[in-house]
Symmetry: C2
Subunit: 218 residues, 2 copies
């Protein structure tokens, strides 16, 4: 065996050896992401990933410590991608009804996208074994959206356009109205996503209800 314990991973400088490293690493990540997102953690073997990425298993293990490590990196990458979708429009200039309609529709599309549903399934299935990941998912996803929108509701409250004493609770209500039981049925594989017209009507009814709760006038 190895005489001593040489520190692995010293990629500081391009060094003398081979160079092509990142391409394979990325191929592994891409394959792992696709497979994990489609089938879950247990249903995918390291052989599957190696085959799909067209690399050998030793290559795979040279880039990632083990299956769990690869899973973590993969899922974290997917989660944090949502963070970059940060270009939420500036709703402050719109009327509350219009802003909520636009935001609600975006939220609906996001939450029920193929990817988000697959990710949610995995988070639920692995929440026991990977609590850190499910927390990261929540922070990067629901939490961020919630914080942003709570700020917007605060704005409306100050402008007396709505009466929202507790913006955090209010935006959770709005979000859950948008999700509805429909989200559960999709996650359980019982239904498909609404088409655009149905989605708009659904969001409209959520906005109507929300405004009835939080209108400045009673």
């Amino acid at each position: 065996m190895a005489s001593s314990a040489p520190k692995k991973k010293a990629p500081a400088l391009p060094k003398s050896g081979r160079r092509k490293d990142d391409a394979k690493r990325q191929a592994i990540l891409d394959a792992a992401r696709d497979l994990f997102m489609q089938c879950g953690l247990d249903a995918v073997s390291m052989d599957d990933i190696a085959r799909s990425a067209a690399v050998s298993k030793a290559t795979l293990y040279s880039h990632f410590p083990d299956k769990d490590g690869l899973f973590q990196v993969t899922i974290i990458e997917v989660c944090t991608r949502y963070t970059t979708e940060d270009d939420i429009a500036d709703y402050t200039r719109m009327k509350p009804a219009d802003a909520l309609q636009a935001f609600g529709l975006n939220l609906y599309q996001l939450i029920l996208s193929e990817e988000a549903v697959a990710l949610f399934r995995i988070m639920v299935a692995e929440s026991g074994r990977h609590p850190k990941i499910s927390r990261l998912f929540y922070e990067a996803g629901p939490r961020r959206v919630k914080d942003y929108m709570a700020g917007l509701l605060k704005h409306y409250h100050r402008q007396k356009l709505l009466r929202v004493p507790n913006p955090q609770a209010a935006i959770e209500q709005f979000g859950t109205l948008i999700k509805g039981e429909h989200h559960m049925r999709v996650v359980l594989g019982l239904e498909k996503r609404y088409n655009t017209a149905q989605a708009k009507a659904h969001v409209r009814s959520c906005v109507d209800g929300f405004l009835k709760i939080y209108a400045t006038k009673s």
Copy 2:
């Protein structure tokens, strides 16, 4: 953990030949249910179940065709148990606010019970492999509650106590308000259930909001 006292059946009447092994069958079902609910499908081996039920693997396979078959029977048993919890109080004599408060609290407790959360996790994780089971879960759980409550809302609508043109949609809204984001956080393992006081306050705010949407006013 695995509880269920070992029922030592005294063979009062040793029938001719083999007695029925319903006791063993039930022991297998109990053990499988406990293990599956606690750990999920993949994390439990048939050896685990046989050991926990104190039967041999041959006995196990004589009662059930294979692991998937046992899983199905087990989960179906759990799902249909909800159906027997049918003794929903008669809310028709109560004021809508009181009925919704009482129903909402029951719903909250049910949805966030240890068992329901575990079952939901399994349904989500296995919805791909066992679509029939997730459908059964939905029919026996959310669907039944929804149908019953939609009837109640219709009653209130006819009595002009509420204005609910679409009871099915309305009760879904109420249900999702009760669940809230809190349910997701519990399912993801990020939080524990509210205590009773918090739950009551939460339900109260849902009822208030719901009544603002569906009050017979103006």
